[in-house]
């Protein structure tokens, strides 16, 4: 097999400009995400990762260019049609009301329910399975307001899983997690991609990109400055240009690649 079969992207952007009216944050972003792919977005604080995600999800209007979901222009899809195709994991937040964790996760089923329907047994089973796959089934009855920030993040990921969408967009899913839970989440991301889902996530840790990403997008100064395989994109010179720190990138004998910053002497 010399040329891979062309895979139609499940999510793509063409010359996308994002930001708010009168305040552009980034422009000229072109990307394609295919099924089974893990795409990792890196960029410094304030580079607009969250804003880009919200524009891809149709939560903010595109300032220029277009977003396509399954080949359809974003604007042609209703919120329900979109939610069946893309699930969103926001950064963990505090809830106003003490919903049970299971109720919170069942809310991921909303796009599959009729307008006047409430979730049924099958939806609760799906939500429970999502909690189990992340190892937090025992939290199901806890109020969402009483669990830790890391557990909330896992619950929000479970909610996205319950949404059964072919694309999951995660905004810094590991940001508030301890070391062990970071690994749990990254493993789950790999597993989802192996099942054929497309996962787009942002992270601050180049090691995470090396560990799970098929493709890395590097965001800096209002645009994508590089995209490609982690090894091609995350070079010491680019990381210095973007983050202003010197790093060395080493391939370990076991096959993993790690990025070690220079902490000074």
């Amino acid at each position: 097999m010399t040329t891979p079969a062309p895979v139609s992207p499940v999510l793509s952007a063409r010359s996308l400009g994002y930001g708010y009216t009168g305040r552009a944050i980034g422009r000229n972003v072109t990307l394609d995400v295919a099924a089974g792919e893990v795409v990792c977005l890196l960029g410094p604080n304030g580079s607009g990762k969250t804003t880009l995600f919200k524009t891809l999800l149709g939560l903010l209007p595109a300032q220029e260019g277009d977003v396509f979901v399954d080949g359809n222009p974003l604007a042609s899809l209703s919120r329900q049609q979109l939610a069946r195709r893309i699930a969103y994991v926001p950064q963990a937040h505090a809830a106003q009301f003490p919903y049970r964790v299971l109720d919170m996760v069942v809310m991921g089923r909303t796009a599959h329910l009729g307008l006047f329907a409430a979730p049924a047994e099958a939806d609760r089973i799906r939500a429970h399975a999502a909690l189990s796959s992340l190892g937090i089934a025992e939290l199901a009855d806890q109020p969402y307001t009483r669990i830790s920030g890391g557990q909330r993040q896992l619950a929000l990921i479970a909610r996205a899983l319950a949404q059964d969408a072919p694309v999951i967009v995660m905004d810094e899913p590991t940001a508030s997690l301890d070391f062990g839970n970071q690994v749990v989440v990254l493993r789950e991301v790999k597993r989802l991609a192996a099942r054929g889902l497309a996962v787009v996530l942002s992270t601050h840790d180049p090691d995470h990109a090396f560990a799970i990403a098929n493709r890395v997008l590097l965001l800096h100064d209002g645009g994508l400055i590089a995209q490609g395989s982690p090894h091609d994109v995350l070079t010491p010179s680019r990381l210095r240009a973007v983050y202003g720190v010197d790093v060395s990138i080493e391939k370990l004998a076991e096959g993993a690649t790690i990025c070690t910053p220079d902490y000074g002497t």
């Binding site: 329900q80 969103y88 809310m107 909303t110 409430a118 399975a129 307001t145 949404q163």
Partner: protein, 359 residues
Amino acid sequence: MVEGTTTHDEKSAVSIAVRRRASALEGRSPRIIAGLAVLLVGMMLAATAIGKYPLSVGDILATLWGAMTGSASGEQSDTVLLSIRLPRVLAAVLVGAALAAAGAAYQGLFRNPLVSPDILGVSSGAGLGAVLGIFLSLSVVGIQLLAFAGGLATVGLVYVIGNLVRNREPVLVLVLAGVVVGSLAGAAISLLKILADPYDQLPAIVFWLLGSLSSTRGAEVWSAAPLVLAGLVPLVLLRWRINVLSLGDEEARALGVEAGRLRLIVIAAATLMTASVVAVAGVVGWIGLVIPHLARMLVGPNFNRLLPASLLMGGAYMLLIDTLARTVAAIEVPLGVLTAIIGAPFFLWLLARGEDGWS
């Protein structure tokens, strides 16, 4: 693929676990709601019996039976029951249930448990309408129509302002517009109070603004009940989506909910309920704020269960207040005074308790 697929056995194991959990946890809420319903019916019977002209439960049942079979005896007890006591009891339940349900909807909508049904100015608008009606010496029906129209118009104005202001968090703009328009209506009420006849109109205005069911007859109940029902139906139908909306606009939209449209429907429904009962009873504070809180403590925040619990508890609480209002003193005590005396300390206790959860 191996890791990702769940076998049939795993699925049924999960199913059994979920069912057991669900029966342990959610099994309690229907029982609580049924208990509240029984309590409300008992309180309605008691409230019908209590009063300056006491009626026995036997009298009540006999009269009701007579009225249903068309063989009313025409005795004084029949008149007291059918044209005074019963309409008032029904009105109290209707007013309390509507205010509490609207409060529960608004608290979810504005993602704030400290919000009450008059957050968007419906009470001050209705107050202005009623005060204007009293000032113009309109009939009781005219006053109620003006109150109803004033409440709807105020919230409509607030909503239009909220839509005109762009580039801001829409919920915050709505609340601030509600505060501003509400205080404008308050200023107009004050002006009318100054201009009103101090011996005839002013006491009527003050009494109306504090809320009362003393002049409520069957006609008012029958005119308000369909409107309350018309507001309640969308809340029942959209009960699950109201939960999702309480996560905030962005999350709700990402989960597949048309947040802007849903918010408009919920505001319209809750405003209709509030305006129609304010037109009957005047401004009765605290119920829409305190009762949803209490209901949440009993059955949790899920609107599927919060709505019926709020309806029942709101009806029971208002019935208790109104029965006190007509029995504790020789004169009628305004409802707003009693709800504040009971509601304010209770709410402080809730705050001091600092509990957000239910267990």
